[in-house]
């Protein structure tokens, strides 16, 4: 494999750019995938990984740039077109018909491209490929009986049967149990030895270091570094590259008197939809007057924890004390807590309704303040939104503008204004500045800092500099557990956060 890099790359991207409205998802990206190599693409949520892969796999068309296969420029109009050129993708959500057998699923995928081989031909091809790559599978078993690891193998076989040479995996280990992860890595090694080019999208640092031959780090739509794992000293360095080490913006933190404990969580544990632990034994408390951050690389249980704290899903075990009142994991999920305001991570779907105007969006969580009786008090809503627009410097043509037409920063400020106007005792913000420009980020930071004078603030973030700039205390979450809680004023301890995010305790 030593001379693989001297050969022409199997797949090569030059200057790939893609915009979605105002968002530049990919900016002039150059990337090579060589035969017999595993190329990892590392980046946070929203860094542009999925967009890039969707372009390579033919789902999106780039606005600019070119894709070459074996040195030849190609254009795809669909995933089928990309597959015809040998590029296939295994999506995070498997695309299988659960009631059909393995062989039937694979024939279905092959049939969609015009070939319709007989079931017996497919079956023998599956067995041959399975043998070659160590993909042990029974072609006649229905897919719904398979484990997630086995389903992934079916997806891989689907691509191999169609002679894919570049295989793209989107967060392939996210749905797998630990033994399946090891099996998956073994399969990757066989594919690699056979001369396939592998693209492996992830935000799990240890996996990257374990399997990748090359690492491309994507941040805000750009590839900011291309490195090989042996040049990377440690997970720590990788983590820093991923979350960024720009100078921390100077934020004035006004002194605030620390007040009563508003939220006290102990031993909270929950499982995800597949019965695997989402987070375990989470204990922490947040006091009025402080910003308490929970930081972690995406996918380490923060989303589930925030859902549980906001009562959107029930935890399995644990207790919560809120404003002095005790709750069990069950009573917490059933109770309504008007004293909690929450800015959700998905500002486009959860936090707002794209097809409704600003006035309608402004009352989403505060219907009780939108008029006394059965009817909405439009006058009162108009006054409220005018005040919010002025106070938070929201740029919008009018209150009748659709939320979907606002820029990310203005939309987030609208959501923030709405949630702050509820005068909460606990203010929870989830990735509040993800994908926003510097100005909007600063404005939101100022608002959060001001809010801690009135309430307890709980911040979920993946952005190290945001956590350091704002927090009084920082809890680091890794694989569903809080590894440590660090005082933000202790600069030695703060230096360890990047390492903790990568799961290293030292």
């Amino acid at each position: 494999m030593a001379n693989a890099s001297e050969n022409q790359p199997l797949l090569s991207c030059r200057g790939i750019s893609k915009r979605f409205g105002a968002v530049e998802a990919n900016r002039s990206i150059d990337l090579d995938v060589h035969a017999g190599e595993i190329q990892a693409i590392l980046g946070e949520n929203g860094a542009g990984k999925s967009t890039l892969m969707s372009i390579i796999a033919g789902r999106y068309r780039p606005d600019g740039g070119e894709i070459f296969i074996n040195g030849r420029a190609v254009q795809f109009s669909s995933p089928a077109g990309a597959l015809q050129q040998g590029i296939g993708m295994v999506y995070q959500r498997f695309m299988l018909v659960k009631t059909l057998t393995v062989a039937e699923n694979i024939r279905l995928a092959a049939g969609a491209r015009g070939k319709s081989p007989s079931l017996s031909a497919i079956r023998s091809e599956i067995l041959e490929l399975a043998d070659r790559y160590g993909l042990s599978i029974d072609p006649d078993q229905p897919v719904h009986e398979l484990s997630m690891g086995e389903r992934q193998r079916v997806e891989i076989l689907k691509l191999l049967v169609q002679s894919a040479r570049v295989l793209i995996f989107d967060e392939p280990t996210a749905v797998l149990a630990q033994p399946d992860v090891e099996g998956f890595f073994a399969i990757l090694q066989r594919l690699k030895a056979d001369g396939c080019g592998i693209v492996f999208i992830t935000h799990k640092l240890e996996e990257v270091l374990a399997v990748a031959d090359r690492i491309a780090i994507l941040r805000r739509g750009r590839i900011i570094a291309q490195v090989s794992p042996d040049r990377i000293g440690s997970k720590h360095e990788l983590a820093r590259l991923m979350v960024g080490r720009e100078l921390v913006l100077r934020v004035d933190k006004p002194d605030v008197v620390i007040g009563d404990t508003v939220l006290d969580v102990s031993d909270l544990t929950a499982t995800d939809g597949n019965g695997r632990p989402a987070f375990e034994d989470i204990s922490f408390s947040v006091r009025r007057g402080e910003i308490f951050s929970i930081i972690g690389v995406a996918g380490n249980g923060q989303t589930a924890l925030s859902e549980a704290l906001n009562g959107l899903s029930a935890a399995r075990r644990g207790t919560i004390r809120f404003m002095g009142r005790p709750y069990t994991h069950e009573t917490w999920a059933e109770a309504r807590h008007p004293e909690i305001a929450f800015v959700p991570e998905d500002r486009h779907h959860a936090g707002s309704i794209a097809g409704m105007d600003l006035a309608d969006n402004f009352i989403l969580t505060r219907l009780d303040q939108a008029g006394r009786g059965f009817f909405l008090d439009t006058g009162c809503i108009a006054t409220d939104i005018q005040a919010a627009v002025a106070r938070f410097n929201i740029v919008a043509p009018s209150a009748r503008t659709l939320a979907g037409h606002l820029s990310g920063g203005n939309l987030q400020k609208l959501i923030l204004a709405r949630e702050l106007s509820r005068n909460p005792d606990l203010f929870i913000a989830e990735q509040p500045t993800q994908g926003l420009d510097i100005n909007a980020t600063e404005e939101i930071w100022q608002a959060l800092l001001a809010q801690r004078a009135r309430s307890a603030v709980l911040l979920f973030t993946g952005d190290l500099k945001e956590a350091i700039a704002l927090s009084d205390r920082i809890a680091v979450m890794f694989r569903g557990r809080i590894l440590d809680v660090i005082d933000a004023s202790d600069s030695d301890a703060v230096g360890r956060i990047g390492l903790l995010m990568a799961g290293t305790m030292e």
Partner: protein, 361 residues
């Protein structure tokens, strides 16, 4: 140079009217093909349809008569769809409304003071439609069973129950063996106006159109329904009680469709018999789609569909063409709507070939 089809980033302006116009055009085109197959001149056929529906006072009044149940079922489908519930069961709820109204008129209210008979009959018709809609609503709210399937399948159940009743236990003993109930007592009949068959249902349904338009737009409850329909994720985040709204909205939707069935019995047929259920519930889906799921637009599109039905009936007498042409045209209308709806999300662009880099051959 070649043409490329790509997704639009922004919606077409006046999309609702453009898609409605395109669907009508496509339906007329499909109709022309059918007429040609039957050996009829499409222009003559359409001329007969227009003169039959719009060319006389009687035709016009009949258009309104047909449009009344269409407005009711169209409104029923629209209301449910506002919350992303696809009530394909307006037909079954229509039938149950007819049953409820007939039962009230024949078996509940005899002996009651006259002024309360009609209101009680209307109330029973609406309640029966609402109850029938509660079956899919409960299944949906508690176990997330797709309402599309349950509402559709329950239509056939309702129709069978109705057939059973007027062939069996409710058959008029003095009806010479003809399948159908006895005529409803006068007190249970909806008044007709202007010497035509236009009846009280028109007043009621216009009232409901205005009411729903205002309530959906201006009330807190209407807001909740719109949020659940347009932003299910946001509704969950905001902690809205989606289950309760499913039950309420489906009940109201069923009540509106039930009113249509009750009114057909009480104002048009005067009894429950064969021919009460002729697909107004399904037509309501077409009306709701064409109206872009806006209550205020429902009456206009119900009138258009009503005109189509009345016009097609003329073809039977004037040109000896089958009356089922009306259904073919309706189907073409809906297909045309679906096609133009899908097509309007795309645009066609002329692509010039990329200039080759210098040095390449």
């Amino acid at each position: 140079m070649k043409l490329a089809v790509e997704k639009r980033h922004e919606q077409l302006k006046h999309k609702g009217f453009i898609t409605a116009a395109i669907s009508l055009a496509l339906a007329l085109l499909a109709g022309s093909v059918i007429f040609l197959v039957f050996g009829a001149n499409p222009l003559t056929a359409y001329r007969f349809m227009v003169s039959g529906a719009l060319g006389s006072g009687y035709g016009l009044s009949e258009v309104v008569v047909k449009s009344i149940p269409l407005m009711m079922t169209g409104l029923a489908v629209t209301l449910a769809a506002t919350m992303l519930l696809w009530n394909i069961g307006a037909e079954g709820q229509f039938v149950c409304g007819a049953l409820g109204g007939t039962w009230a008129a024949l078996y509940l209210t005899p002996g009651w003071p006259e002024p309360v008979v009609l209101p009680a009959t209307i109330a029973c018709g609406m309640a029966a439609g609402a109850l029938w809609a509660m079956i899919p609503a409960v299944l949906k709210a508690l176990w997330r069973v797709s309402e599309i399937l349950t509402t559709l399948l329950l239509n056939y159940v309702a129709i069978i129950i109705m057939d059973h009743l007027y062939f069996g236990p409710w058959r008029d003993p003095e009806g010479f063996g003809f399948p159908g109930t006895a005529t409803l007592p006068d007190a249970a009949l909806m008044p007709r106006f202007f010497g035509t068959r236009i009846h009280l249902g028109l007043v009621l349904v216009i009232g409901f159109v205005v009411l729903l338009h205002v309530v959906l737009k201006r009330s807190k409850w209407g807001y909740t329904v719109r949020v659940i329909g347009q932003g299910p994720e946001a509704a969950r985040y905001a902690g809205l009680n989606v289950k309760r709204q499913i039950l309420i909205v489906m009940a109201m939707s069923g009540a509106l469709a039930g009113l249509a069935g009750m009114a057909e019995v009480s104002a048009i047929h005067y009894r429950l018999q064969e021919g009460v259920s002729v697909g107004y519930g399904y037509d309501g889906i077409i009306v709701a789609c064409l109206a872009g799921l806006r209550p205020a637009r429902v009456p206009a599109f119900a009138l258009i569909l009503g005109a189509l039905i009345v016009g097609a009936e003329q073809l039977q007498t004037a040109m000896q063409l089958p009356a089922s042409i009306a259904q073919v045209l309706e189907g073409a209308l809906l297909l045309g709507f679906l096609a133009s709806e899908a097509l309007s999300a795309y645009r066609i662009r002329v692509v010039r070939p990329a200039t080759r880099p210098i040095g390449s051959t």
